[in-house]
Amino acid sequence: MKEFKYVITDEMGIHARPAGLLVKAVKGYNCSVKMEKGGRTVDCKGIMGVMSLGAKKGDEVTLTFDGADEDVAYEAISKFMQENL
């Protein structure tokens, strides 16, 4: 299992569009990808869950990757977060 902590810098936070892009990106991998914020954990393969975290600018989220392709997923998704959020 791999873990990645990230503080949101995007002004709008994880709103609908980036949430959609994130879900799209995550779905390309077989491993499970979960995101945690303030004690709540959601599956990154569902847009509603990701949006329901209501992650705003300055919030810290923790992503965990678990599964055979977790290394590549970790690389790609952490890069995605840095570039888009």
């Binding site: 002004e11 709103h15 609908a16 569009r17 949430a19 847009i47 509603m48 949006m51």
Partner: protein, 554 residues
Amino acid sequence: MRVYNGKSVFGGIAIGKIRVYKKDVQQVKRTKATDADVELARYASAKEEAVRQLQVLYDKALKEVGETNAAIFEVHQMMLDDVDYNESVENIVRSQEVNVEYAVAATGDNFSQMFAAMDDDYMRERAADVKDISERLLTILSGKEDHTAMGEEPAIIIADDLAPSETVQLDKDMVLSFVTVHGSTNSHTAILARMMEIPALVGTKLPLDDTVDGKMGVVDGASGKIYVDPDEETLAQMRDRQKEEIHKKELLQTLKGRENVTLDGQKVMLYANIGNIKDLAMVLQNDAGGIGLFRSEFIYLEKEDYPTEEEQFQIYKQVAETMAGKRVIIRTLDIGADKQCDYFEMEQEENPALGYRAIRICLTRPEVFKTQLRALFRASAFGNIAVMYPMITSIGEIRRIKDIAAEVKAELDAQGTPYGEPEQGIMIETPAAALVSDMLAKEVDFFSIGTNDLTQYTLAIDRQNPKLDEFYDPHHPAILRMISMVVENAHKAGIWAGICGELGADESLTRDFLAMGVDELSVSPGSILPIRKIVLETNVEEYRSRSLDTRNNF
């Protein structure tokens, strides 16, 4: 005749019968369904159909309003594909042995409540999206045809509220206009009204009963009014305006998408002037190449207190993003003279037009100026923003502005806040600036000539005094010579020059401006296409030779 006011989201005139649109609320019955697999197979095919419908909407929106604005339908598709949503539906069907309609309705309610309970305005609005996709599934499952089918004749549709997808699905040929009691001017509704290209009002407090249903009505999208049972005079007046609009629309059809280039190949940028973010729809509708003058003072005038950096940032960012890479020239605060703001607590003046206003306020109250510059620099990371400073008279002022701008950037750097590097330009609206434009041109990226003030200051005529109308001659050779000189000086220094005053839209001068080499004309959105028509029909070389030396002719 009764008149109701709403907020306009799209201009134009609609005349016709009013039809009150009652939402075809999906009556969902909870019935026993023992074969869960049958129910879930129905769900799967309904979902497939919903995704297909959304793809059609997405493609339509993508073509007409661009990727950013179409994204909502893609988000809807992803919501339908959401694991939690689908698991919830499946769970309810299997554990409660009920029909899938009930499971969808219950799931939709639960999920939309989850969003409605969030402490964020943006996320709360998403509750409507969840409801929208659930309604779509229920409509498909009910096997009913388009529930938004209308009567036999086109009508003005009045409703309590309309979801984004409902607006798009309304049979275009049967809808003259739509007017809603609720709803905000949020971009979805505005964009969709634009897609349908019909006048639309939201936030209109009118009754949804027999006092309006079936009555004759007129919607005036320009003023945001709806007339119920209009009198003859109003009707006749509106018919005339409608004719004009149809004529304009035809013009639009033939001129939209064309490049602004003369017969002999000279190009000119045709931009729009706007005084409010609400005018954006008009800007896009009229095919403006950019925004040549965004009057930022409306942000101040609408408030009771100084607008914060964040408030301003959101507005500038929205404009920049909506214009998607096209240039947006934002003029910094231009209050004073005829535009007053109580909380600035300015003293009475003998000569306000010659007084404490615009850049003079900004330079003496740097805290106000810096807040605006921070918002502008930050927003320019999201699009092609250019910043323009009003009421310049000297190089000294430009240097002071540059010093303040440098301080602002240093502060943003220190905080690690991202920002862009907007072009910096000035208004040429004082005779002093025009006369030293050769010097000023070396300091900035562009000029925009404000002909209203330039005329008032050059001719020494108070624009507010109606008695002086007969002496006020905007075609005075002094003005035209100054414009010509400013353009020449700009070109010598390798920068561009435009006109953003009323004169820019004066069709009798378009050829002269082209002959002078004016690079940009910024006019009200409705004037863009008529001016484009003149540009397309002009041969500048020929015009110039016919009028000999242009400047001596003035």
